[in-house]
């Protein structure tokens, strides 16, 4: 019996030694703890998944599980719940960039390579948090950002007017990969968006997702090809991370 108990304790110890413990939550402000759903046990590579204007959706948990199989730890950070905000686009504006920066700090403490991942309007909070984190001149940089159909417009432009971009668009200094469906008005703005990001010092790669609409992986009216693409999204993200363009160093990010 003693031998069995000893073996069990050794087993438990070895599991806890090699598995990345789920943080459960990360404190980002005196009274604000961000709930974290963690997937995977990779100690090197972590994807920090930040909410879009739709909050965290259930499909993202499934994709995170698949990303774990590709060798990543994924933290899904529910920034909305942390501040008791509803899943509404306006809630994004209530989340300070410092919340994201604090999440990045916690992530980089335990992982060598931290990638940010967000979609739609969530891209702006991801970039703003990254910039704030970079301004603290951390020893460990952010490895890159994966932006799914990013919306970095300051507002919906009037008909016939060129879109204006949020200031963070040309203030970012990150290696960025954009995944954009071609069945989207934003597809036609992609070249301009890349130019704006690159002017600010962010090298950008882009992958066109043919036959897909924005929000394809969580649409209520998803088409069969969009459901198929959702099932492949983890592999697509992994591929984008592997092909992130190199970041040139800059003195003042």
């Amino acid at each position: 019996m003693k031998q069995i108990s000893a073996f069990f304790l050794i087993f438990l110890f070895s599991v806890s030694a090699f598995a990345e413990p789920s943080p459960g939550s990360v404190k980002v402000a005196p009274d604000v703890e961000v709930p974290i759903n963690a997937y995977g046990t990779n100690r090197q590579k972590l994807i920090l998944w930040l909410p879009s204007e739709h909050g965290i959706v259930s499909a993202e948990h499934e994709i995170a599980k698949q990303l774990a199989k590709h060798g990543y730890t994924v933290w899904i950070a529910d920034l909305f719940s942390a501040r008791f905000l509803p899943n509404l686009p306006s809630s994004l504006n209530e989340i300070p960039a410092s919340d994201v920066a604090q999440l990045i700090r916690a992530a980089t403490q335990k992982h060598n390579k931290v990638y940010l991942l967000s979609s739609g309007q969530g891209a702006s909070r991801a970039l703003e948090g990254a910039r704030l984190w970079q301004q603290a001149k951390p020893r460990r940089p952010i490895a890159g950002a994966i932006l799914l159909f990013p919306n970095l417009y300051a507002a919906s432009p009037d008909a016939g007017e060129a879109p204006t971009y949020l200031p963070i668009t040309d203030q970012s200094h990150l290696s960025i990969a954009i995944l954009q469906g071609n069945l989207s008005p934003w597809y036609w703005q992609l070249d301009e968006l890349k130019t704006r990001l690159e002017l600010g010092g962010s090298p950008v790669s882009s992958k066109i997702l043919t036959g897909l609409r924005d929000r394809f992986y969580f649409r209520d009216d998803a088409l069969p090809r969009e459901i198929a693409a959702r099932n492949q999204l983890a592999a697509t993200i992994d591929d984008s991370i592997r092909h992130l363009p190199p970041l040139k160093s800059r003195k003042n990010p």
Binding site: S156, A159, W186
Partner: protein, 172 residues
């Protein structure tokens, strides 16, 4: 309690359904950008050829749910305007002819027969700076842009019909 929830839900849905996008006057009036595209039968249409008519240019795509939703009302508008100098040019954005024809078959109950143009390479999307689908413009008989609309609407509703009729030549 259940009844109260049902009433609130019904009221919410009713109010949501009543919300329609509104035409926005374009001030100052501006000349339209060029538009020269082929229709589904291979005939080339140039916007310049429609001077003297009020033209509704609608940018749409079959994969865009609001675009699809407003199509029947565009057809009803066309029928309402029969005999008047008014034309609809619905510019499909970078889809294949087969995709458009499939859509028209799906919508056969609405008997859509207004002009559909194909922008195969998306050039007009950039020229007209379309960043929301659908986006519509109304051009007066002198070739001036007069109204724009982001998103879908019921085109045979009072406001669009009133605005378009206000641009038609006055009878002597």
């Amino acid at each position: 309690m259940k009844n109260l929830a049902w009433i609130i839900m019904s009221l919410t849905l009713t109010l949501n359904g009543a919300v329609a996008n509104e035409l926005k006057p374009i001030e100052p009036r501006a000349p339209f950008s060029s538009l020269k595209l082929q229709d589904l039968n291979g005939k080339t249409h140039s916007l310049a050829d429609y001077k003297g008519k009020v033209v509704l240019v609608n940018f749409w795509a079959t994969w865009c749910p609001p675009c699809r939703a407003e199509m029947p009302s565009l057809q009803r508008l066309k029928e309402h305007m029969t005999g008047k100098p008014f034309v609809i040019l619905a510019v499909d954005m970078a889809e294949t002819e087969a995709e458009i024809r499939d859509f028209l078959r799906e919508m056969r109950a609405s008997k859509i027969d207004f002009t559909i143009l194909m922008d195969k390479d998306g050039k007009s999307i950039k020229t007209w700076k379309v960043s929301v689908f659908p986006t519509s413009f109304i051009i007066d008989t002198e070739g001036q842009l007069r109204y724009s609309l982001l998103g879908a609407t019921e085109w045979d509703g009072y406001e669009p019909v009133h605005a378009i009729e206000g641009l038609l030549p006055k009878k002597p």
